[in-house]
Amino acid sequence: MLRGLEACPRHLLVCEKSSFLHEKSRHSALVQSHYYNCSVSLLLPECASLPEHIKRTVDNFGRYYLVRNLPLHEFVKEDFINTFVKKGAFYALTYRTRIDQDNSAALLPTGKLILSVDKDTYEELGLQGKPSLYSGKNPLRYIIKIDLTEEGLAPGGKKFQRLNWAFTEKKPLKCDFLLAWDNTGAPSILSYFCKYTVKECNFKITSRISRDLPCPVLKSGDLHGKPEESCSSEELFDWLGAVSNSIDCDNDSSNFISAFCCPHPNTMVERAHLCTINGFVTPENIQRLLDQLREYFAEPKLTQWVSLIVHGFADSPVSWKECEHGFFKGGENLYSVVVFNNQDYWLQMAVGTHDGCPP
């Protein structure tokens, strides 16, 4: 019994090092396949204010939308599929639904509609799905995947009619949805969904400057770190957490309140700029930000690296690609990219218990 009490839930941290200059570098693919992101942060050591080109990219993030009580059958309309889904980069995710208790849905930019529903809803819907990977022997949650771009889903076809019938008559599901579309010069989400209550949302941008911060010493070629030479990727990930949560790292081991300290070796930086953008951030926007971060070192800088931190939605039905995601104790799915001044990078991806290994 005691052993059970002391067991800790499984979690994974994947660390990679590579260079942006490598032809087969996977950074873009990994950023692009983490679809649902609720916050992005930039950590720039030795930086007083954001450089103009990065600030411009952040300001150009555009907007996202919150649509109230949107019936799911809106997604299987021919008009909708042709106007949005087939053009790509359309993102939808249910808002304020909890993946461990409510019905939730996500429309991936690839055109796949993924529903994570409880057993009752699944039986009422009458659509084909699979039991959730994390629901044990007697599944109480099911995952339904529908490819909206599939040829067999032609309007008027049997499959199309069945879907429409399931969503309009059998079980008319309605949810609040977050929508984002990375496609300018097209009919806007606002006008298309004018029948419903649509709220245009702006990203919330906050900046904070930490002063006199101990900052780990890193060597881009050495993920594991060496005592007295450089810190490991794992230690850095911990430290990034401390900076993001404004936690004081300057404690000694006998301190009663906290003995948390910055990994060794470290150097004191005069200031570090942490800029956080909250909202429904598309991978395309993150990719643009990452490209700008690579440009950051075009001029000589005092720091040797900067970092980009991305948090995924805890209640999204997927983490990377179509990998099923659940909440369990925290629903964490996040990653950070450390960009070095020689175009090397480190990528750290972390997931909690109900999640597959990051790709």
């Binding site: 609720c38 916050s39 309140i257």
Partner: protein, 136 residues
């Protein structure tokens, strides 16, 4: 001494493109982190970080005795205004800490409870909570 070492000192740039490497760490974190908030029923009390830590340690002692109160536990941050705190506990102590916090009911004759806002083996995960995305 490594000949690279001397060169790196003179030149601020790091060495050339690095080769690809991937490591997968299973259960790497020795600690678990909890973001909690102290709530009072009715009129509350003022607490400092030290008093809050004492409160948590005494809760552990009440439920799990000396073994519980000697768990490695750190109060990483505490906001005296909102009474929000970030706690770090060794992973094997997570269940003990969580149960003690749940059963905590009093602070100096004030009725109180502790709400667990978020928990994770990664400190960084506490910096972004999609459930707090408020668009109302």
């Amino acid at each position: 001494m490594d000949p690279m070492h001397g060169r790196m000192r003179e030149q601020p740039k790091l060495a050339g493109p690095t080769s690809y490497e991937r490591i997968v760490l299973k259960n790497p974190s020795e600690h678990h982190y909890m973001k909690v908030q102290l709530e009072f029923n009715g009129e509350g009390a003022q607490l400092s970080a030290t008093q809050f830590k004492l409160l948590v340690v005494s809760a552990l002692k009440n439920l799990h005795g000396e073994v519980g109160s000697s768990l490695p536990l750190d109060l990483l941050s505490f906001d005296e205004k909102t009474l929000c705190a970030v706690l770090r506990v060794c992973s094997r102590g997570l269940v003990k800490l969580w149960s003690s916090l749940t059963l905590l009911g009093h602070y100096k004759n004030h009725e109180c409870s502790i709400r667990v806002i978020q928990t994770s083996p990664f400190l960084l995960a506490l910096a972004g909570n999609s459930r707090e995305l408020d668009l109302e």
